[in-house]
Each structure stands twice: as structure tokens, then as C-alpha cells.
């Protein structure tokens, strides 16, 4: 593909995120590297606890106080990982914005929607409060919030979960960011609203060349809007590929398991869903070998000894598996 010739807007290399806990260090993200290009939708999938959110918390500089990130994250060529706050604040919320997983608690309960949205524009774009409020109103209309004008004066507790998530989305789009990180943005929404939101994001990508990172459990969402997909397992990226390859030609046994455990439209109803046996690995104890070893049907002696690196697969993607 021609991607190799373009320069990525965000390039992450060997990102490592460790949390210090009472039971010792927990490595939530391990040597994660990826690039994202303009007008692209990159999906991050993987089961709960895989480290998807922490990758982007690290980049945004919002890890919990016991977390440390190392490695590199170049945004338009500039290192932003562990940047001093003053410089980082010029980028995050402005060129790089994030929608959080939990809409119920991610808005400030003590401030009106208007205030929480407008402040972004006041701070990053130097708008007056009244102009900022006008722009916020337009954005609320964009995400199809009914009676947007009234909603501006509301407090978060007066809105439903779906409504709050839409406010979060509108808020993250105010500055027309270069990259929008959407951490499970549609889980709280019903299917029709979900489709609207996804359409909205695609429009945004078309209009502003925004790159979108879509973190999700929902392979349906991935199929609808992603161009490329990265699969995470136990803090690592175990497979990278174009969306079609991931769906039709998954290489890593974990990706295969993930697909088999998801209902599909083209699947015979008689075929039953298969859950992946076992539990996600605990991140505290670093074991030797492949992190998927004890849940893998194809586990070989080598898998117990040596950790596989990402290697090119027959379909042109990358997978971390000794079967290659």
C-alpha cells in the first residue's frame, strides 16, 4: 500500500506503560508501536484489560498517578510522550482529542454543558465565551442532540447516558482535531444512534481529514468504519492488518478466537459461537514465551520459551505468532 510513502501524523514506538501497585509493577502496555495517517480510521480491538485504553491515556498524559510511560510518541514529528504540561496542553484537547469510555462520569457534574464545551474553544482558539457558546450550540446540533439550546444550560445529571456521550463527542470535535481518539464511544448508545454517531465521525474524517482511532469491543463497529485494525492481547499488539484481512484472513489464533466468538450476519445460525477458553493473562507476573500460550489451541514447545515478534503474514499484515 501507499501508506509507507506518506508520513504518519502520529507515530508510536515501543510504548511501555507500567503501574506501580502494592503487588509490584503491572505492565499494562508492552512495546506497542503503530502509525496513524491522516483521514484514516484505525481500530483497536481486544478483550477487557488488554491495555487498549492505557495506550492512549499514556499518549494523552492522563495516566493514573501510579502509572509511568516510556518509549516515544511523535505527533507530526514532535515528541509528545511525557512532554512538560505547558507544551502538552497546547496539543491535547486541541489537535489531539479523546472521547472517554465512561460517559456517566466523564463530564463534570458541577458545571453546565455550555461551560464545559465553551472552555475548550476559549482556551485553545481564544474565542470569547459568547462566541464559544454559539459554536458549541452548532456542534450539539451536529451530533443531533434535540433541543440543543436548552441542553447547553443543563447539567450532566439531567442528561441520559447516550446524551452525555454525544456531548462528549461534540466537545471533542470542537477544535476540529487532527486525531480523534474514541474509546468505546458507542457502547452506551442504542443501535440507531450508534449508526448516526459513526456516520458523523466518517463525515468528520472526510471534511477535516481527521484521523480516528476507534477503540472497541464491537467488531460490527470495526467492520463499519475502520480501515485498519490492531488487535491487542495482554498489553501487546498481536496482529495488525487491513480490516478485510482481519475479518477474512485472520492469522493470530487470538484474532481467530475473537472472530469466532462474535455473531456474524453471513454466518449460519446453526453454527454456534465459540468463546475463547481461559482468562486474559495477569499482567503482573511476566511469564516467558507467548502471552497467549495457555489459551492457544496451537501451542508449541517454542511458544513456552520464546516471545514471538510481529512478522509479516501471507496476507501482508503482521502477526506475533510462531506459526509464521
Amino acid at each position: 500500500m501507499s501508506e509507507n510513502m506518506k508520513t504518519p501524523i502520529l507515530s508510536v514506538v515501543d510504548l511501555k506503560t507500567t503501574f506501580l501497585t502494592n503487588d509490584g509493577p503491572v505492565e499494562a502496555v508492552h512495546n506497542v508501536s503503530f502509525d496513524i495517517f491522516e483521514s484514516e480510521v484505525l481500530g483497536f480491538v481486544g478483550e477487557s484489560g488488554a491495555g487498549k485504553s492505557q495506550v492512549f491515556m499514556s499518549i494523552m498524559g492522563i495516566l493514573a498517578s501510579n502509572g509511568r510511560a516510556s518509549g516515544s510518541a511523535l505527533f507530526k514529528g514532535e515528541e509528545i510522550l511525557n512532554l512538560p504540561l505547558e507544551k502538552l496542553n497546547k496539543i491535547r484537547g486541541h489537535h489531539l482529542s479523546m472521547i472517554f469510555q465512561d460517559p456517566m462520569t466523564s463530564l463534570n457534574p458541577y458545571l453546565t454543558i455550555s461551560k464545559q464545551m465553551s472552555e475548550v474553544l476559549v482556551y485553545h482558539k481564544g474565542l470569547s465565551w459568547s462566541d464559544a457558546e454559539k459554536k458549541s450550540l452548532e456542534m450539539l446540533d451536529c451530533v443531533k442532540i434535540p433541543e440543543a439550546k436548552m441542553r447547553l444550560k443543563s447539567y450532566p445529571h439531567e442528561l441520559s447516558g447516550g446524551m452525555r456521550q454525544r456531548v462528549m463527542i461534540a466537545m471533542s470535535l470542537l477544535c476540529e482535531p487532527d486525531i480523534l481518539i474514541a474509546d468505546e464511544p458507542t457502547t452506551a448508545l442504542d443501535v440507531t444512534v450508534q449508526a448516526q454517531i459513526l456516520d458523523l465521525m466518517l463525515e468528520l474524517k472526510k471534511d477535516f481529514k481527521t484521523a480516528i482511532i476507534m477503540i472497541t469491543h464491537d467488531l460490527g463497529v470495526v467492520a463499519q468504519i475502520c480501515d485498519r485494525v490492531h488487535v491487542m492481547y495482554g498489553g501487546r499488539i498481536v496482529e495488525k492488518g487491513d480490516v478485510n484481512d482481519i475479518f477474512y484472513n485472520p492469522f493470530h489464533p487470538y484474532t481467530q478466537g475473537l472472530l469466532n466468538s462474535t455473531p456474524r450476519m453471513d454466518q449460519n445460525v446453526q453454527e454456534s459461537l465459540v468463546a475463547i477458553p481461559g482468562n486474559p493473562p495477569s499482567l503482573g507476573q511476566l511469564s516467558k514465551g507467548c502471552s497467549f500460550q495457555d489459551r492457544c489451541d496451537f501451542c508449541m514447545p517454542k511458544c513456552l520459551e520464546e516471545r514471538p515478534d510481529l512478522k509479516i503474514t501471507t496476507s501482508g499484515g503482521l502477526a506475533a505468532c510462531h506459526l509464521i
Partner: protein, 305 residues
């Protein structure tokens, strides 16, 4: 808002009635009476006194008479300070207690919130340990130890300030310090705890992700939620402190209202004790109301109820 205030005032009536009832009968259950003295007074005189003050009537009648008096704003005459009514005594002592108590609690709130916030922002650093160390000390040292220590060191050894008395500004300094220190300590701890919790919350994470400067995050996003527990503490604390600390007023010889409570109880000055108790009750109810109003202003979720 007006509705809330009216509701509260109506709701306060039964509370006050219970307070009055319980204290009325309790003080009378205590052994001895208002006219017991070292030298026993002649029977006839006591009988006469009892008659004058209606103490010879059956209790329920006395209680009714007392309630009727209160309704008219009359707390009756003091049994001990014979030429004063209880109301006069209260309004003579209260301004003094209000003055030092009010200054103390305002100082304590400002300093305590400031220190608590610093400690929270510098959690687990030396600054934090220092503030929390001071705070633990302040909380654990009781005022009957702190006050004499202060007057001993600053008043007696260093001779910087008078050890007691009332009248000048310089008389107010030591009692205010003695009242303020434990309050600062408590408020700092409270603020630190709630601030740490708020700073960990998802909405502060959102504010950071929005790229807002730290001072905006602190002032606009964090402070309000962190201060709610402090506000609910400050209500009753203020009520308590402006109605006079018995210990502090005794040690520094301040003519406040706290003194009357002790003297009244010791002398079985029924009306004086009752008057002070009812007055405390009213002040506490008042400050709880103020807390509720402040809560409504600070927390939008409360506004509708």
C-alpha cells in the same frame, strides 16, 4: 429557596420542642436546687423564693409556663444573677464569643482549605507529610492542653501577650489561636482527602485531556466538588465555635457565653442553662440551614429537591 427556608423553620419547631423538653426535665433531675448554699437558708425563705420563681408548682405547670414565656421571647429571670434576665446575660456574652469564634472559624477555613489543597496536590511528598503531621498533632492535642501551653509559652515565658482578660485586640490573639489550630488541622485533613478523591475522578481526567491549564482545572473543575464535605463540616463547626468554648473561655478569662453554661449548670440556675441550651439549638439549626442553602448553590443535583 424561600420554600426551603420556610420548610426548615417549620421543621425546626418540633426539634426545638424536644430539646427544650429533654433539657427542662434533665436539669431538674440533677440533685440540689438553685437556692442551695453553703449556709443553709431558713425554710421560710426558700419557700418564699420557690414561690416567687414558681418552683412550688407541679412540673408540668412550670413547663407550660416556661414554653409560654419562650413563645413571647422571654427566657425568664436568672436565679443566680438576680437583677438580670437570661436574655440579657445571653446577649451580653454572645457578642464576645461570636467575635473570637467567628474570626477563628474564618481563619481556620481559609488556612485549612489552602493547606489541604497543597497537601493533596503534593500527595506523598515532604510537603504533604509536613502538613499532615501538623494536622494529626493539631487534632490529637485537646484544647485544655493547647490553651494553657500557649498562655504559658507566649504569655508567661516570652511575655508577648497577656495570658488572659478581655478588652483589647491583644487579648483576643491567644484564644483565637487556641480555637483555630485544631480547626485548621481538621479542615486541612478533610480538604486533602476529598481533593485527592476529586483529582482522581474521571471528570478531572477529561479536563486534563482537554488541555486546560492546571490552575483552571483546580479552580473551575476540582475545588467545588472537593469543598462539599468541608462545607457540611463547617456548618455545625461554626455553630459550635461561635457559641463559645467553655474551656477556652475559662482558661483565658473571656466573658463569653460558654461561661454561663458552666456556671448555670453548677449553680442549678435552671433558667440560665435552659436559655443557653435553647439558644445553642437555634444557632445549630440556623447553621444547618445555611449549609443546605450553600449546598444548593454548589451542587446542581441538590437544586431540584
Amino acid at each position: 429557596m424561600l420554600r426551603l427556608i420556610l420548610n426548615r423553620i417549620l421543621g425546626a419547631i418540633p426539634t426545638l420542642f424536644v430539646i427544650i423538653g429533654i433539657s427542662f426535665f434533665m436539669i431538674r433531675m440533677a440533685p440540689g436546687g438553685p437556692f442551695d448554699q453553703e449556709r443553709q437558708l431558713p425554710e421560710e425563705i426558700i419557700a418564699n423564693l420557690n414561690k416567687v420563681y414558681h418552683l412550688d408548682e407541679p412540673l408540668y405547670q412550670q413547663f407550660g409556663r416556661y414554653l409560654w414565656g419562650i413563645l413571647q421571647g422571654d427566657f425568664g429571670p436568672s436565679f443566680q444573677y438576680k437583677d438580670h434576665t437570661v436574655s440579657e446575660l445571653i446577649f451580653q456574652g454572645f457578642p464576645v464569643s461570636l467575635k473570637i469564634g467567628g474570626i477563628a472559624i474564618v481563619l481556620a477555613a481559609i488556612i485549612g482549605i489552602f493547606l489541604g489543597t497543597i497537601a493533596a496536590l503534593r500527595q506523598n511528598t515532604r510537603v504533604d507529610y509536613l502538613i499532615m503531621g501538623f494536622s494529626m498533632t493539631g487534632i490529637t492535642i485537646p484544647s485544655f492542653v493547647m490553651a494553657p501551653l500557649l498562655s504559658l509559652v507566649i504569655g508567661v515565658y516570652l511575655r508577648l501577650l497577656p495570658v488572659g482578660g478581655w478588652g483589647d485586640l491583644k487579648h483576643m490573639v491567644l484564644p483565637i489561636i487556641a480555637l483555630t489550630l485544631p480547626q485548621i488541622a481538621y479542615i486541612a485533613r478533610l480538604t486533602r482527602g476529598s481533593m485527592i478523591e476529586v483529582l482522581r475522578s474521571n471528570y478531572i481526567r477529561t479536563a486534563k485531556a482537554k488541555g486546560l491549564p492546571e490552575r483552571v482545572i483546580l479552580a473551575r473543575h476540582a475545588l467545588r466538588g472537593a469543598l462539599l464535605p468541608v462545607v457540611s463540616y463547617l456548618g455545625p463547626a461554626t455553630a459550635g465555635i461561635i457559641t463559645g468554648s467553655v474551656v477556652i473561655e475559662k482558661i483565658f478569662g473571656i466573658p463569653g457565653i460558654g461561661r454561663f453554661f458552666v456556671l448555670g449548670a453548677l449553680n442549678r440556675d435552671y433558667t440560665l442553662v435552659m436559655g443557653v441550651v435553647v439558644f445553642y439549638g437555634i444557632i445549630i439549626i440556623l447553621f444547618n440551614l445555611i449549609v443546605d442553602i450553600l449546598y444548593g448553590i454548589l451542587d446542581p443535583k441538590v437544586r431540584y429537591e
